[in-house]
Symmetry: C2
């Protein structure tokens, strides 16, 4: 597959113009762009600019409101519920995370559950907003049902990611950003392009039987929770995905379980809608609400150095600390540019035509 | 293996006397007993009365203080750090959870990180303390290193469990209580008794190679993080175990990573001790800090009923909701008694002799 390299600035300038073209304010377009492209910088290509046309189609289908009035509908000193007014999650989630941070400044921690939102890009972007304030950040979101719980044929949960980001001192921050499935959809797409089978424990077919078919989702199959099967702890991955759903949607009043709206605009909305839009959950904990930040960060450095110096199993070069791979991608791509597949370039060219924007 | 049935009251009366015999106050002995035996009731036999003699040995080795002065050493409106004064985690963790609950009453949520503690039994007991207050409860703890991170030979983390408990309305509460490993130690012990191999992805040997030897921990091997290997997402299980360590120990000033004190008193303490004792993290979120509790609980009922009515894969009877198996154990054992293996009965008889307590 041919790939093309683009500078961050090229892609950001284009993306911002697209968001403005659908009616976003300058401020929202800038925020949405920064959130979306953080995925491309960090090597999570499935969640970045490759999805830009998907967001536009959601707007066309009137499932995304480009001019939302995002507001707090309930709050206490350490909590809030935010109504995203059907806006882009790329804008709604940073708004909610900022509230969590402000509450943490006041009372030590802040926790915000969000209803009536849409897909928010990568969880990592939102959680990492806390780092510059010497806070631990958390972000999670529910998503449309692709995952079958242990023993279930029916797809009841999304890939429901969790991110936890914790600041360190001299070492880079700890950033754990993970879908609660064995493998995320992006991994299946890579195998599809290679015409390769999946490992065991990634997917099941439409009748709930194990399979290694990387195209099985298109045939009614399902992703499996982290663990894969009962013997390997899939009930734990299922439980974690369920916790994400409860925090993001049951606490906020968003849709949950199999009733979460789909990302592809061509997929009909669920007939039943027990809540509003998609749900997120954002949290911030001020480190010095527990102990002096310098002490914590020195301990984090020691912790990180301990893991980095662990002996490796045969054939592996180093033990990674959560966040290492994405940070290496970011450094390399800021230096050398962001590679886009030809299919993505074609997709962006179509958007450029449609909105009369320049794209090379 | 022969098993003997005991009523909860028989075991509780005996356990309380043992805790008093090592010097615990009446109040602490009652709390420690309730916490410890909640594991036996809920079917998590590895963490219950089978460990009573282990706690006594820790006290003999002066690693447990039977008369701790447990206190808050730092706090904000929504957070606290508790010093357990080397007390039984069975007593320290409920103390800390109570603080989390009180803070949640005041400002919506409460978060308590604990240093200088010991093993706290099952995470579920502490998290579930929140339920009767219409709060979501969370509990986690670090533990001595048995788990090798992805690509590591060295054991750097404990089985670091996480529990999240959320109240429902007519349905029983949602209780997700999970070690962040593919399988917990108790599962290995069952295979050892049967002389059976482990499935793939549970353990590795002393050189970091995959193995199916259920006795491998005694030969220097390690448990593997949830996921098993990189291809099946072990970096996610590793990241979750790391988050537990950071919240429990880096925030509180407890020991972390490979430096967490061991449970067996015959295992020497780590040469390096960067913190104090074992760390826990307890949290409580008032449901009505987000939305009216009745609304939330009705939504939880709907959520739970949705999962229960999901279609099952071939050969399985029902889709479980997290907490179902433990609740069924509890109902059955309250009715019929708690079965103990002969080895455990013998162990308790030795304790009875030693402290001149009656045990049948």
């Amino acid at each position: 597959m041919s790939e093309h390299l683009y500078s961050y600035q090229q892609l950001a300038s284009f993306t911002e113009k697209v968001f403005k073209s659908i009616g976003c304010s300058d401020e929202h377009a800038a925020t949405a762009t920064k959130t979306l492209l953080s995925a491309d910088l960090r090597g999570i290509d499935s969640h970045g600019i490759a999805r830009l046309s998907g967001y536009v189609r959601l707007w066309e289908a009137k499932r995304v409101n480009a001019t939302p009035v995002i507001k707090i509908i309930h709050e206490t000193p350490s909590t809030a519920v935010v109504d995203g007014d059907s806006g882009l999650g790329l804008v709604v989630a940073p708004f909610a995370m900022q509230i969590a941070i402000e509450k943490a400044k006041q009372v030590g921690t802040g926790w915000v559950s969000v209803q009536h939102s849409n897909h928010f890009g990568i969880a990592g972007y939102h959680a990492m907003m806390a780092l510059e304030h010497d806070m631990i950040g958390m972000a999670m979101t529910n998503a449309s049902p692709l995952v079958a719980p242990t023993f279930s044929i029916d797809k009841m949960l999304g890939t429901n990611p969790i991110c936890v980001a914790a600041p360190a001192g001299k070492e880079p921050a700890f950033v754990a950003d993970l879908a609660t499935t064995t493998a995320a959809n992006g991994k299946l797409e890579i195998l599809q392009r290679k015409n390769a089978d999946t490992p065991d424990g990634w997917v099941q077919d439409v009748e709930g039987n194990p399979t290694n078919d990387a195209n099985i989702l298109k045939k009614g199959g399902a992703l499996l929770p982290l663990g894969g099967d009962r013997e390997h702890g899939s009930h734990k991955g299922y439980a974690l995905g369920a916790v994400v759903d409860i925090f993001s949607a049951l606490l906020s009043g968003a849709n949950y379980a199999p009733w979460v709206p789909p990302f592809p605009a061509y997929v009909p909305m669920p007939a039943q809608q027990p809540g509003k839009g998609i749900g997120h959950f954002l949290g911030a904990m001020r480190v010095d609400a527990f102990r002096p930040a310098d002490e914590f960060k020195a301990a984090m450095d020691h912790w990180i150095q301990g893991f980095r110096s662990a002996r490796t199993v045969p054939g592996e070069e180093k033990v990674l600390v959560p966040g290492d791979p994405e940070r290496e991608f970011e450094a390399e791509r800021k230096r050398n540019g962001i590679p886009l597949l030809q299919a993505v370039v074609t997709d962006l060219a179509t958007l450029a035509d449609r909105f009369s924007i320049n794209f090379h």
